[in-house]
Amino acid sequence: MLSTGWGITLKLHNDELIKKLNLTAVKIRRHIIEMLYKAKSGHPGGSLSAVDAIVTLYFYHMRHNAKKPDDLDRDRFILSKGHAAPTLYAVLAECGYFDVKELKRLREINCMLQGHPVCQHIPGIEASTGSLGHGLSFANGVALAGKLDKKEYNVYVMLGDGETDEGQIWEAAAAASHYKLNNLTGLLDRNFLQIDGNTEDVLRLESVRERWSSFGWNVIEIDGHDIQQIIDALHEADERENQPTMIILITVKGKGVSFMENNVDFHGVPPNELEYKLAIRELDTLQRKLEGI
């Protein structure tokens, strides 16, 4: 497994690294399907679209240590679109923040993993989310504290595209550029779907790029499932001076499971038994392909 310690301790050839991260992403997708099937509830679509970016952050880019989740110098990740909790839980478990066995008890009574992230009870969770629209403001606060305390850490926050309907997002967008929060990077999961349908039919968002740049942000648009592009964008964001960066991840809701892809019906409905088996089979095939078997 790649290091989840400070920086990248494994000196891998680039192709090796990308392959490892892609394989980790498949593993996380399998966890998500298994968790939601077992919990008989939850949100597959937005969990699957978010996988590649979150995997790249935790297994490659961020400085963090599962043994010291409260380390004051750690980079922070905030999942503003809290309904993608399964992705974050699976990544945290694989990093060693808690036992992978906990994943099977997602959403059960008397268990740790709540339907949406709770910072108090789950190691590695930075912010309690689930009510959309708060995360960017929270991340601003963490970034401001970093500046005040002269810390080197970076703050990463993932937003849903539908989530940016919320006015609070734009209040936060203004504040982040006003305070020149270059230690803050947003990741927008641009999968073009929310619950009632396509984002452009529900409440038009385009032009997303111009919106963020007109609010004073550095904007990078990439394929949100291309690990190399995610790595490059994160590096570029960290280098930026005087400005926060928004990485627009062009993604596919339900990515990795053919019948969930771009299918709004899988926003908040878990797979049934047949769908579960099909999904796992597809992910197995994907894994073999990546391994070159």
Binding site: A39, K40, S41, G42, G82, R107, E108, I109, N110, C111, L113, Q114, G115, H116, V118, S128, T129, G130, S131, L132, G133, G162, E163, D165, E166, G167, Q194, I195, D196, V202, L203
Partner: protein, 314 residues
């Protein structure tokens, strides 16, 4: 005998469609949850009078007030957690203070939301809405009552809030019952003279189950369906205090600020010394889980209510 179930959310959607025909000035707003709140039924029938606001609840509430200021009957819907706390100042200024004809109909109230967890289990909404001047507050107990209350909301002027749960609920009343239900008038659903259980929303059915449990032990419980929490039926509360030896309130809500508080305020001010307990969520956030398990863990099952009733009557 198994209970006949119907989802109050569907009853809401169907009633909106009927009312839409009758009232051409009725408009509906939703915030990216129309499939869950069932306003989608209205959206399909009357697309011109339905406004999809996206995930932007504050904007939805103030827009609904603007529409109402021009003579529209505005219904705005989303989950209870986003329909109240998140937009409190918008409701306070644009609806309550302005005495606007806006009807907030919230679904997914209470802990029966289940597995989504405490972030989505709204147990403070009744309290929040109850303290607002001008605001009328409802918690209908089944699909039939939901239909009648939504009709009343459309026909009577003023700010109103109603909340139902997520799950299908046992039908307590027949489809055409409750023709003369009145805002602010509680219903004596079952009579009894040992103890009164005053309940609202989902807890009315639990109170009826409690009554059965108690009757096996020779205790006769009266069940009051207090569908309107504000204005509350003071007379009925005082009558129960006089006629039964003890009183319980039951709500899928915090014991602070909701039905239990409303009833205890009446009792205290009248100097009633009847034995009294509030059943509800005891000032805490709950957790993810199956609704029935949550009801058991947090003390809202019929078994728990019956146990508390017996202790009170000791």
């Amino acid at each position: 005998m198994s209970k006949v179930m119907e989802n109050p959310r569907s009853a809401y959607g169907e009633t909106l469609v009927e009312l839409g025909k009758k009232y051409p000035n009725l408009v509906v707003l939703d915030a990216d949850l129309s499939k869950s709140t069932k306003t989608i039924m209205f959206a399909k029938r009357y697309p011109d009078r339905f406004f999809e606001m996206g995930i932007a609840e504050a904007n939805m509430i103030s827009t609904a007030a603007g529409l109402a200021s021009c003579g529209k009957i505005s219904f705005a819907s989303t989950f209870a957690v986003f329909a109240t706390g998140r937009v409190y100042d918008q409701i306070r200024m644009d609806i309550a203070y302005s005495n606007a004809n806006v009807k907030i109909f919230a679904t997914h109230g209470g802990i029966s939301v289940g597995k989504d967890g405490a972030s989505h289990q709204m147990i403070e909404d009744i309290a929040l809405m109850r303290v607002l001047p001008n605001m009328v507050v409802f918690a209908p107990s089944d699909a039939t009552q939901t239909r009648r209350i939504v009709e009343r909301m459309a026909t009577k002027y003023g700010p109103m809030y109603a909340r139902v749960g997520r799950a299908s609920a046992p039908l307590i009343y027949k489809k055409d019952d409750l023709k003369d239900i009145k805002i602010g008038k509680g219903i004596t659903t079952k009579d009894g003279d040992d103890i009164s259980i005053i309940a609202c929303g989902t807890m009315v059915d639990y109170a009826l189950d409690t009554r059965k449990l108690l009757s096996k032990e020779g205790i006769k419980a009266r069940v009051i369906d207090m569908h309107t929490i504000k204005p509350i039926d003071k007379k009925l509360v005082l009558k129960c205090a006089k006629e039964t030896n003890a009183m319980l309130t039951a709500e899928e809500h915090s014991v602070i600020g909701g039905l239990g508080s409303a009833v205890s305020e009446i009792l205290a001010e009248k100097g009633c010394s009847c034995k009294f307990r509030r059943m509800g969520i005891q000032d805490m956030f709950c957790e993810s889980g199956e609704p029935k398990d949550l009801f058991a863990k947090y003390g809202l099952s019929a078994y728990h209510i019956a146990k508390t009733a017996k202790e009170l009557l000791k």
